[in-house]
């Protein structure tokens, strides 16, 4: 089928536009941007398959008005003119506007679906790029490439296959672990396992319940047994305690009977215990008093001897009273104090005399130096302060300022002139320069004005000259003579006509004459007209020439003025140079002159300041010298010494201080001499007084001491000792008589006790009559004490027996208890048995608790049911994933298999045609392509270079890959044309990536294909149109330009 014409009756921006696609050859449809190229492409599909429901081409015409017409020619030559309207049904109309069945079109299309038509028979730049890219991605897999080229998917097949395989692999792989299906199977297995583990079988529940019951009865049995054993154990214990108590009570009663009358008189005997103690104490005291008495007797004898008194036993020594004693001691103290005082005074007197001698020596030493001259020199130096530093700073400052000025002068270009002479340098004044500048400005202004005028006049003159030239040209105005000549010729003609007319010439001659007259009249008129016209032109020319002369005159005048101004300016410059000549400074420009003069003035002013500063500094230096000579004189040092004034002044200060100190010392010594003489006299008087007091004290001492046997000159210690010995003797005599009295009283008391005991023995224990009263008393007390103890023990036993209770203890137990060892053994056995029972009870309680817990859990939990639900969920997941996996897996497998199968069936013819197309499209850079095998032995495409080298698709350049894909697509389409009804091939800008040469080759190939099947080549590149025109014969190329009216054909049918 081919499209003989496409009629855009009302579609997109078009109305009644017809593309005549009938002639054989390549049809290039050229539309610049916005010209409607895409619309036209859509119109082709719209015509064949119906207009899209949501078409973007209804912006000018209403959707219902859209119409695309066309003439379609089938392979067997049948023609069909149809019109397509937009709608849901009956959209195909015949040329009278009547609906015709869609089958008519379907038959013509021979089973090619819209999608196939669009993908397989249409190719645009993007699809080409995608297809070439897929060749690269798929590494030129042969089957995939051929399949994809046939589908026209632009790599669709490769992507689809890859996606399906990935989809399947993402769900399940035999050795996958984390994939959804593998995981779902695993969860199912786990849940099934968990059901078994977590189930709580009813049998287990019942068993557990029975177990619980038996545990509870076991618990009761053990508790009962324990209770019984504990009772027996208690009874045995009670019996074991009672037996020894009874036995002890009998023993005690027996012992009490033996004590007889004592038992009833315990209370009476209780006092005896204390009296025995007193008696024993008394006996010890009597013995001690006897010893003491002997001791005191010896002491009295000894003390008498020590006191140095005659040893008459009978008469006591003289008693001394406390007052005499004190007086004697005070006198001894007084005597000692006076003697000490006297000694101190003597030492002080000695020291005063020594100090006095030293002071007198000091006062007599050399007098101090006179410091008047030094003080005066110091006074005149003080107001100057730190004058030397200030002087040094002043000098440095002057120096620095001078250097700065020099530097600035050098900067200002005044280096040649010494600074000192700068002030006197004969420079022009600022006023002089201002005056010169004012004049210069005036001259400048007038020069500019004149120059402007000159330029204006120049232009004016030029314009006038041009106008004159334009008018002047080569013209020759007719002159009066010519006019006259013409008039004569006219008159002559007219006369001839009149003469001939009168003579009666034939009609033809008359006409000729009349024509001649007319021509002559016209010539005269023309000449007259020209003379009038040229007269105007002459006038204008004269006016212009006069104006030009005036302008030139003015121009000459202004130029003279300009020269004058320039001369004035030069004169002014000279004046300025002269003004500077005397100063020795090169004359600057007028503009700089002002600044230079100002700068010199400023330098001169600062120079004056520096001079003032230098003067001040000199004055300071003179003052310093004056003071210094004064100080040198006062100090008496070498005037040539160069020590600084400060150092010299320090020396002066030191000398004055030394003299002052010396004067103070002498005055002090004189004052001391007077004081010390006074002190020595006072001490001598005191010593005399103390000696008198001492003599008085001695007299009073002898008065008291002599009777006591104390020597007149006894020292304080001796006096004290003598007094102590006396006091000791008197004390010993007193003690001796006291001891004798005490011994007598003790003997009386002992006798009374012995009599009482003898009486008690006779009454209560005659068996003791033969022992001493002291022993008998002890025995009586012992017996009473024993009776008391027995009584208490008996009471305690009675009490404990009462506490053990009056319960009946079975005879067998009592018998058992009687045997202590056997009873202890029995008790131990019972304890062990009870302990075992208790442990058993604890165990059973724990067992019961855990059994109860287990039962409660079984009652409440539905773990197995939960797991069963989980298993069902997992199973559902497994099912869903299996379905998905099977779908993807089968799709991928079948697609891959069919790709191979398609390759096997079509490989030969497709490859050979693609190979030759590829060689041509690459201009022979490649010989062609062939089927080969890749490193995994999969069939793949190999391209053969001109030199025979083989290149796999990844090794191709991008452009060459595009051409490879194009070759495959074109060969696939040709193959279709070979075996089935050919369909128009619609290409949309597929060559834009190619260089001119390759594009030309491609266009030739397309033109060749166009001889077998219709090729419509759409482009918006004018360059491709040019290339096509250059490459193809006119009869093989038909260019249709969209949006350029003259190139469009208007359908006659539509107009009719």
């Amino acid at each position: 089928m081919r499209i003989a014409s496409l009629e855009l009756l009302a579609y997109g921006p078009f109305r009644n536009l017809t593309l005549d696609l009938e002639p054989a050859g390549l049809h290039v449809v050229f539309g610049r941007n916005e010209a409607g190229k895409s619309t036209t492409l859509r119109a082709i599909t719209g015509l064949l398959y119906g207009i899209e429901r949501s078409t973007p081409d209804a912006h000018v015409h209403k959707p219902a008005d859209l119409r695309i017409g066309g003439v379609l020619v089938s392979a067997d030559g049948k023609r069909l003119h149809v019109v397509r309207r937009k709608g849901n049904a009956n959209t195909l109309l015949d040329d009278r506007g009547q609906p015709i069945p869609e089958e008519v079109m379907t038959r013509l299309l021979r089973g090619i679906s819209e999608e196939t038509f669009r993908h397989a028979f249409g190719l645009d730049h993007d699809a080409l790029r995608r297809g070439a890219e897929a060749l690269l991605q798929g590494k030129g897999d042969l089957g995939e490439s051929l399949f994809d080229a046939s589908v026209g998917g632009g790599g669709e097949v490769q992507r689809l296959l890859e996606r399906l395989e990935k989809e399947a692999d993402d769900i399940y792989r035999p050795r996958g672990h984390t994939l959804p299906l593998n995981e779902a199977i695993k969860s199912l297995t786990e849940a099934q396992k968990a059901i078994k583990e977590k189930q709580s079988l009813p049998e287990a529940f019942v068993t557990q319940e029975q177990h619980l019951t038996s545990l509870r009865s076991d618990l009761e049995a053990k508790a009962a047994k324990k209770k019984e054993l504990a009772g027996r154990r208690a009874r045995l214990e009670s019996a074991r305690q009672r037996v020894p108590l009874e036995r002890k009570r009998a023993q005690l009663l027996e012992a009490r009977a033996q004590l007889g009358a004592i038992v009833a008189n315990v209370a009476r005997l209780s006092a005896l215990r204390e009296r025995i103690g007193a008696y024993d104490v008394n006996a010890r005291a009597r013995h001690e008093l006897a010893v003491e008495h002997d001791l005191w007797r010896e002491r009295v004898a000894l003390a008498t001897r020590r006191a140095g008194l005659p040893g008459a036993e009978g008469e006591g020594p003289p008693r001394i009273d406390v007052k005499a004693d004190a007086r004697l001691l005070r006198l001894v103290g007084e005597r000692d104090r006076i003697q000490a005082q006297k000694k101190t005074l003597a030492a002080e007197l000695e020291r005063a005399r020594r100090d006095l001698a030293r002071a007198r020596e000091t006062a007599a030493a050399a007098p101090p130096e006179d410091t008047t001259a030094l003080a005066r020199a110091l006074a005149s130096a003080r107001p100057l302060g730190d004058v030397e530093t200030r002087l040094a700073e002043g000098v440095a400052k002057v120096e620095k300022k001078r250097r700065d000025l020099e530097a600035r002068a050098a900067q200002a270009g005044l280096a040649a002139i010494p600074l000192a002479t700068l002030a006197s340098c004969p420079l022009p004044t600022l006023e002089q320069i201002e005056a010169l500048a004012a004049r210069a400005a005036e001259i400048e202004k007038s020069t500019t004005r004149t120059a402007d005028k000159v330029a204006e006049l120049d232009a004016q003159a030029l314009s006038l000259a041009q106008q004159i030239a334009a008018l002047a040209g080569d013209f020759a105005p007719p002159d009066a003579a010519a006019l006259r000549e013409a008039r004569e010729a006219r008159d002559a003609a007219w006369t001839k006509l009149r003469v001939e007319a009168a003579a009666g010439v034939d009609a033809r001659a008359r006409v000729s004459l009349e024509t001649e007259v007319e021509r002559a009249v016209r010539t005269v008129d023309d000449l007259a007209d020209r003379m009038i016209r040229e007269a105007d032109r002459v006038t204008t020319l004269a006016r212009l020439r006069s104006a030009e002369a005036t302008a030139l005159e003015q121009l000459a005048q202004k130029r003279a003025e300009l020269d004058t101004s320039r001369a004035s300016r030069a004169a002014l410059e000279r004046e300025l140079a002269e003004a500077f000549a005397k100063s020795g400074i090169a004359a600057p420009s007028l503009a700089e002159a002002r600044a230079l003069v100002a700068r010199v003035a400023s330098l001169v002013a600062q120079l004056a300041e520096v001079s003032d500063l230098a003067h001040e500094t000199e004055q300071l230096r003179a003052r310093v010298e004056r003071v210094r000579s004064e100080v040198v004189a006062a100090l008496g040092v070498d005037p040539a010494s160069r020590r600084s004034l400060t150092d010299l002044l320090e020396d002066v200060g030191a000398r004055i201080e030394i003299a002052e100190n010396r004067r103070r010392e002498v005055e002090q010594a004189k004052k001391q001499c007077a004081e010390l003489e006074e002190t020595a006299a006072a001490r001598e008087a005191s010593i005399a007084h103390e000696e008198a007091s001492l003599a008085d004290v001695r007299v009073r001492f002898v008065e008291i001491a002599a009777p006591l046997g104390i020597a007149e000159d006894a020292s304080t210690e001796e006096t004290t000792r003598s007094l102590e010995a006396l006091r000791e003797l008197l004390s010993a005599i007193d003690k001796r008589s006291e001891t004798a009295t005490k011994a007598e009283a003790a003997a009386r008391e002992a006798r009374a006790f012995e009599e009482d005991v003898t009486r008690l023995v006779g009454e209560l224990a005659p068996d003791l009559a033969s022992v001493t009263p002291r022993e008998a008393a002890s025995e009586l007390v012992a017996r009473a004490s024993k009776a008391e103890t027995i009584g208490r023990d008996l009471e305690a036993i009675v009490e404990r027996l009462a506490a053990l209770g009056a319960a009946e203890v079975p005879a067998d137990i009592l018998a058992l208890a009687a045997d202590g060892e056997a009873a202890a053994r029995a008790a131990e056995e019972l304890d062990a048995e009870i302990g075992e029972l208790e442990a058993g009870l604890e165990r059973t309680k724990r067992d019961i608790m855990s059994a109860e817990l287990g039962l409660a859990q079984m009652r409440g939990d539905s773990l197995a049911a939960d797991e069963a639900a989980k298993a069902q969920e997992a199973l559902a997941r497994v099912r869903a994933h299996v379905e998905r996996w099977c779908r993807a897996k089968v799709a991928a497998t079948l697609l891959a298999r069919e790709i191979d199968r398609f390759r096997e069936e079509n490989q030969g013819p497709l490859l050979s045609r693609a190979s030759s197309l590829f060689a041509r499209l690459t201009l022979g850079a490649y010989q062609g392509i062939r089927a080969g095998f890749d490193d995994k032995d999969k069939p793949c495409l190999l391209c053969i270079r001109a030199d025979g080298a083989e290149v796999a698709t990844p090794g191709l350049s991008e452009g060459t890959r595009d051409q490879l894909y194009l070759s495959l697509r074109l060969s696939s389409l040709e193959r279709h044309a070979d075996v089935a009804e050919p369909m128009p091939l619609v290409l949309d800008d597929v060559l834009i990536q190619l260089d001119d040469e390759r594009a030309r080759a491609a266009l030739v190939v397309l033109a060749e294909i166009a001889t077998r099947t219709q090729v419509l080549f759409f482009t918006h590149h004018a360059r491709l149109v040019e290339l096509a025109k250059g490459a193809l014969e006119a009869s093989h190329l038909h260019v249709h330009e969209l949006g350029a009216r003259p190139a469009l054909h208007v359908a006659d049918a539509a107009l009719g």
Binding site: R110, G111, I112, S113, T116, A120, L146, F147, S150, V151, G153, E156, R159, L160, R163, E167, Y172, P174, L181, I185, L188, I195, K198, Q199, S200, L201, P202, E203, F205, M858, R859, G860, D861, S862, L863, A864, A865, A868, A869, A871, Q872, L875, A876, R877, V878, R879, A880, V882, R884, W885, C886, R887, K889, V890, A891, L894, L895, E898, F902, H976
Partner: protein
């Protein structure tokens, strides 16, 4: 003997409770109401007991399969006991027979049922008299899982002056999807002269006869996608010794539905999702406040086919997400069956000479050629070996080597590959 006086009464007839048996086929996904689904059978039993109490039922009949033989938690039994105890407190007697599922159940044997529950013997037919109501219930439990005898045949004839009920777990003369246990016939049952036959075993509600009434109430709670629609019990009103009303009362907690979405008018997948949502909304209104477990089929020749097929997983996820967003925990999408077709003419495509035509022709051949299908099966053989037995057995079994399944797959491939190749992956 004087004329018997009748009291007006209601009784409730339920069967196939299958308490705590798992609901099948529900794959968990984000937002799915897992907990509510799991407790559905218990919830339905609670509803049954509450209904008995509210309706002041004279008694409750349970026609077998209270328990599912397959579960193992004792708490299941105790839950049942607790519910029966509620009826005891309300003084409502319960008469039950065991069915094939709970015949051997050790749980039932071990259970101590409250004294208002009477389980009829499995050794011989037993007639149990409910004196207050003047009713006699005749019945016999299954003694073993498989019961091929006609139990009904040996039931006694009706007792005069009483309302006679036959309680029986049976498949009658055979019902699709149910084991042929305790087979019997309508004639046999009618011949007994009973007023009502309370049957169990068949999970779909069915009234076999109205004279006398012979009724399958269906199971109490649907458990998988093939047990769709309202599920519950039958409430029978008796006045003056005659049945005046037989009402089916929905007591299910979760409702299974199977919905078909016609995608043919849809231009894209979003429109399909919208239509599916509308269908779910309608089903949801019908189900009331129940949980809806829906199986969705998307069918029809549609322009959206290529889009849907390009990524079926994404499409189903979008659908699920739409359900979660629109209905939250009230809807569980059990499964989505994508069965859409392309709008293009497959026959015409098969005539094309190019690669797509080649593929279309080949797929058509493979579909109908057993040896080609066997080659497809070989691709799946490895996985098939690893699939759990549960998937290969019973209803809805999935056999990867089954020619019907393989044909379905190839058809699916046809509807996926061809449009993608023709229209591009987008």
């Amino acid at each position: 003997m004087g004329r018997v006086t009748w009291r007006a009464m209601k009784f409730v007839h339920a069967a196939d409770l299958h308490v705590d048996s798992p609901l099948r086929g529900l794959a968990r996904y984000e937002g799915a109401p897992v907990a509510r689904m799991r407790s559905a059978t218990r919830g339905a039993l609670e509803n049954l007991v509450s209904t008995c109490i509210e309706e002041r039922a004279a008694f409750l009949l349970l026609a077998g399969d209270v328990f599912d033989g397959g579960w193992k938690d004792y708490s299941t039994g105790l839950f049942f006991v607790a519910q029966m105890a509620r009826l005891r407190d309300a003084k409502i007697p319960v008469v039950l027979v065991r069915g094939n599922h709970d015949a051997m159940s050790s749980v039932v044997k071990a259970l101590r049922l409250p004294d208002n529950v009477r389980e009829l013997s499995h050794k011989k037919p037993e007639s149990f008299e409910l004196r207050d109501a003047n009713v006699v219930v005749h019945g016999q439990s299954f003694g073993a899982r498989i019961q091929t005898e006609d139990l009904a045949a040996r039931y006694p004839d009706a007792r005069r002056d009483a309302f006679n009920i036959g309680l029986l777990h049976t498949s009658v003369d055979g019902r699709e999807g149910h084991e042929p246990y305790a087979p019997t016939s309508l004639e046999t049952m009618r011949a007994k002269g009973y007023d009502y036959w309370a049957l169990g075993h068949v999970h779909a509600r069915e009234v076999l006869s109205q004279e006398p009434w012979i009724v399958f109430p269906g199971n109490l709670q649907g458990r998988h996608a093939r047990e769709t629609g309202p599920k519950g019990a039958t409430i029978v009103t008796v006045d003056d010794g005659a049945i005046t009303e037989v009402e089916h009362r929905a007591l299910d907690v979760a409702r299974w539905v199977s919905l078909t979405v016609d995608a043919s008018p849809c231009a894209d997948a979003l429109e399909v999702v919208d239509r599916a949502r509308d269908a779910l909304a309608a089903a949801q209104v019908e189900a009331g406040d129940r949980l809806l477990a829906a199986r969705l089929f998307v069918r029809g020749a549609t322009k959206a086919n290529a889009h849907i097929r390009r990524d079926v997983d994404r499409f189903t996820s979008e659908l699920r997400a739409a359900a979660v967003e629109g209905f939250g925990e009230r809807v569980w999408i059990e499964k989505i069956g994508v069965e859409t077709r392309s709008t293009f003419d497959l026959a015409r495509l098969r005539e094309e000479t190019g690669a797509v035509g080649h593929l279309a022709r080949r797929l058509a051949v493979i579909k109908d050629d057993p040896s080609e299908l066997a080659a497809v099966a070989a691709v799946l053989a490895d996985l098939e070996k690893k699939l759990p037995a549960e998937l290969r057995e019973g209803e809805g079994a999935m056999l990867l080597s089954d020619p019907a399944f393989l044909r379905m797959l190839v058809e699916d491939v046809e509807q996926t590959l061809l449009p993608t190749l023709l229209e591009g992956e987008g």
